[in-house]
Amino acid sequence: MRPLPARHSGDPNPASDPVRVQLFVPCLVENLAPEIAEATARVLTRAGAEVALPPGQTCCGQPLYKSGRHAEARDLALRFLDVFSGPDPVVAPSGSCVAMVKAYPKLLAHDPARAEAARALAGRTFELSQFLVDVLGVEDLGAELPMAAAYHDSCQVSRTLGVREQPRKLLAKVRGLDLREPSRPAACCGFGGTFSVQFPEVSASLTAEKAADLAATGAQAVVCAEPSCLLNLRSHLDKNSPDLGIRCLHLAEVLNSGFGGAS
């Protein structure tokens, strides 16, 4: 496996030899929330990375995999391996899509050569906050967002990837941000992809409870590192409590605030 780029001292303004990054844009973000991808590219650039967008990206196969359609998911996994065959780290503003890439080695286990390539890819694929904090060693991106915000621990980010501290470290450095913890930070927002379509009552009930818990903190914004949770919470809040005016912001948008991102 290729060694990870060297950590630097937390200086978001490295003089030379920038780390090159392949930006992985989840299809939900591409079509429903392009501002998240833009903020991600801007934040990575400010953190000293040189961002490339490998052409030909479509879908990582997650909806197929989670529907039990492994044979079909395998086709998209192989495609993904080709699109991201470059040696540079792959970074995505999504826990669930990164988790999908981490599941490729098992999905492709029947083909040792591709499984090996998948293992290498999984090793160089990162969720945004993980990459900023663990790889680049950056916590302070100079962002400023004077408002109260509640952070939602997406299940895929916090449990599947084990990324809990990194987003909080990054948010702690955002000037003016008053970060509030909901009473049940680890509770699922009820989305679960196709789950929300197949079992809409349970899903809606969980989403309502999550939204109420986040709103009870008095936050003006919900911040999350997972776009699918954000779209779910936003859809719920827009329909049921537009008067609260709670914004649903991706971590990348918060980190880009003061630089043309959320304000």
């Binding site: 973000v29 650039t45 989670k66 039990g68 100079g142 895929q156 699922c188 197949q198 009552e201 349970v202």
Partner: protein, 482 residues
Amino acid sequence: MSRAPGFADRSADACADAQLQANLKSAVLHFQRNRAKAFAAFPGSEAARDLVRDVKDAALSRLPDLLRELERSVTALGGAVHWARDGAEACAILAEIAAEAEASTAVKGKSMVTEEIALNPALEAAGLEVYETDLAEYIIQLAGEPPSHIMAPAVHKNRRQVGELFAKKLGAEYTEDPTELTNIARTTLRRRFLRADLGVTGANAALADSGIVVLVENEGNIRMSTTAPRVHVAVMGIEKVLPGPAEAAAMLAVLARSASGQKMSSYTSFLAGPRRDGERDGAQAFHLVLLDNGRSRILADPELRQTLRCLRCGACLNVCPVYEKAGGHAWGSPYCGPIGTCMTPLLGKGRGRDLPFACTGCGACAEVCPARIDLPGVIMALRRKAAEDPAFPDPAERGGPPLSAAAAKLFVKVAGSPGLFRAAASLARTLDPGLALASRLAPGLRAWTRTRKPPRLRTPFTASWPALARNLKGQALKGGRP
């Protein structure tokens, strides 16, 4: 059109029941807090979970040998061992034991495995009066309901509902005081223990080296059920055999902590066969019924085998978001929650084609399982089985994978080509940017948008990338900061 009865319907009903929602939430939060407290005060808890995983795996890897050793040990103690391939065989064995003992009444300790084989109706059909003696089991037997939780079967009821039930069924004066309610049940049950001919329990484990059966409880009713009647029958899934006391100790270290937040439960019984000459208590005859009912099939599957590590503590239910809303009855099985999702399609004839999909994939269950079962992984494996085999687990059931095979193939075709993928998104954006049409036409989306405003399709990010890339290049040259 109404949906096929299944998890979707039953869980929707549960969500519409405000009283049930309140009962479930208060119960699971209570259990979560207790477990968290117990584990916080338990140094080495992670190593203890590792140990249980290893102990169970080691036992499972030599299950046939351990079971034969157990049979020899129980027989040497004067007990009888019976082998049941499935629930019907197990029920027939119990009915025969009852007939031979000329038993007319049976008392039961709480046992999930006897729920699994539907023992009560079978014994009643054989002419026995059967009384549940665990307080929660007694409550649901009176109510004519199945259990809704592995550890706390009446968790869907609050004390007011229990008070009303006791008033109606037992003619007791209405009270919602837990102590008074317990006393009402105790008075009724005490008479039953003394009259019963047969005591039926499950088993938390049986030790191969000694033939000892381990039973864990909090109410003393299992100790009564195993000592007061003339005959004790323990029914146990074959996966519960352990080599000896060291392995039982490993299990006991995590079981009550995971289930109820206790270090140990109030009663832990080690029963070594029937009463011997000169002994003053204990059943005069002891039978151990070893049940397969699909377990050897699970054992043979390397992906699913780990489900047999389960200690039936119920911790995974208490942290499952779907359980908290749907309640245990939605599973349509004595085993509910994440472990129920894993076991129900695999045990007996197997059912619950939709169960593996009734999971948000949050992973909370795996964090608390004392035997470190990768429940989300098993659930994903079952999704694959359901997708690959339309007859899994029961060909009579509808429901199952959210994407048909044809839809999955079409999706791959489109997502396999960036041009097609872009064109499809662009077409949707032009025709139905707010997804209003899709929400009206697709039944799934229609239900979704009852509580949510659908997102809007936007100009894709890729279209704005070239300009952004130039902008970022300039920014990087200036040193990364604007």
